[in-house]
Amino acid sequence: MPHDHRHDEPHSLLPSDPALRVKALQTILVRKGLVDPAAMEAILDTYETKVGPHLGAKVVARAWADPDFRARLLADANAAMLELGISGRQGEHVVAVENSADQHNMVVCTLCSCYPWPLLGIPPAWYKSDAYRKRAVREPRAVLADFGVTLPEGTSVRVWDSTAEVRYLVIPARPAGTEGWDEERLATLVTRDSMIGTGFPREAGA
């Protein structure tokens, strides 16, 4: 070693280039038998191909189509999600919050990047960015403008700062002109950002 690292944080012993740093740690963990590469691939495959915003969209679409399900979702989101086979880590304690003409809901985690993984999957980079974490609580309307979103006059904003293990799912308002649509078709209108509260669902004719 070129100099004594003992008073530094352990990561400073690894290469400083992030790609090399990750590779070195991977080598150590795999060689020591602490990480099974196949298990790691299975985890990644889960969030690359199986778990993502399409699951949250199923929940929202059912809430739009089925008033009884909507009531169950608002009362006990985890039980309602289980009806659709949806559960998992970083979504053990879910609360669903519904947008209305009076109130728009928006979710952030200012202290880290808590996110409802079983419903929305891996968070997008902007959700984890310092800019979003800093600004969402104090100037949500300016942040919404960054997304091209303007709220109607008279709609207040409620920002949910996820500071515990409770995760929030926004149920956006059902788009006009979708009367009679089945759940599958409704789900195609539900975007990831509309379930975080930084967007609206797609319009029926779009």
Binding site: P10, L14, G88, A125, S129, R138
Partner: protein, 220 residues
């Protein structure tokens, strides 16, 4: 006290939206960093509170990108918990060994990810009821460990709010992050008026909620 992770309410740059769907990795090493962190988490060597605290106390927190924080904190936890030595980190390799019985086994991945880890616990009855007015404590600091982990953001210290949800006792991060036990406390969602949090809110009717443990709160 420096708490660079506690950034809510500060000024910041433009937020850059991303396409709908499952996000793409910005670099191949991000994928490895994510997989490695989740796989190593499956060793069961630390709690989510310990891993958050490990990220927050990084000297390079403000400079590191998201996954750089993850990897640096992971290296620290692996050493602290005795899974990896500093010599191995410095060498960038280790003696080949068979798969540890503690490793996250492939057959456990799907059930473990689908099950998650609930944080609700048996514990004391809630002192506050939905509708009660409360005030958050000041300062927003860990009461047990100097400069320790806490989940009360600075922007909400000493502020009046109202209980809107009562979640029952949950694992208490201020203790659990420092190996002091789960010490479950009732958890509430507290509603704040933007006008009570900020000098010049965008709209005085706007609101912010936080999920706060009972010992962060006093009756208003």
């Amino acid at each position: 006290m420096t708490r660079p992770h506690d950034m809510g309410g500060q000024s910041g740059g433009r937020v850059i939206p991303a396409p709908d769907g499952i996000p793409a990795y910005d670099a191949p090493w991000h994928r490895t960093a994510l997989g490695l962190t989740l796989a190593a988490g499956g060793l069961g060597g630390w709690t989510i509170d310990e891993s958050r605290a490990a990220r927050e106390r990084l000297k390079d927190y403000p400079r590191f990108s998201y996954y750089e924080k993850w990897i640096a904190a992971l290296a620290g936890l692996l050493v602290e918990k005795g899974f990896v030595t500093e010599e191995e980190l410095a060498a960038g390799t280790a003696v080949q060994a068979p798969l540890s019985p503690r490793a996250f086994m492939i057959e456990k991945v799907a059930p473990a990810l689908a099950r998650g880890t609930p944080y609700s616990r048996p514990g004391p009855a809630p002192r506050f009821a939905v509708g009660d007015r409360v005030t958050t404590r000041r300062p927003a600091a860990n009461a047990f460990v100097g400069r320790g982990h806490t989940r009360l953001p600075a922007y909400a210290e000493g502020k009046p709010g109202r209980v809107i949800l009562s979640h029952g006792p949950h694992v208490f991060p201020d203790r659990n992050a420092h190996g002091l036990g789960e010490a479950p406390e009732p958890l509430y969602t507290i509603l704040f008026r933007a006008a009570d949090l900020w000098e010049a809110p965008e709209d005085p009717e706007d609101e912010v909620t936080l999920d706060l443990w009972e010992s962060y709160l006093v009756p208003a």
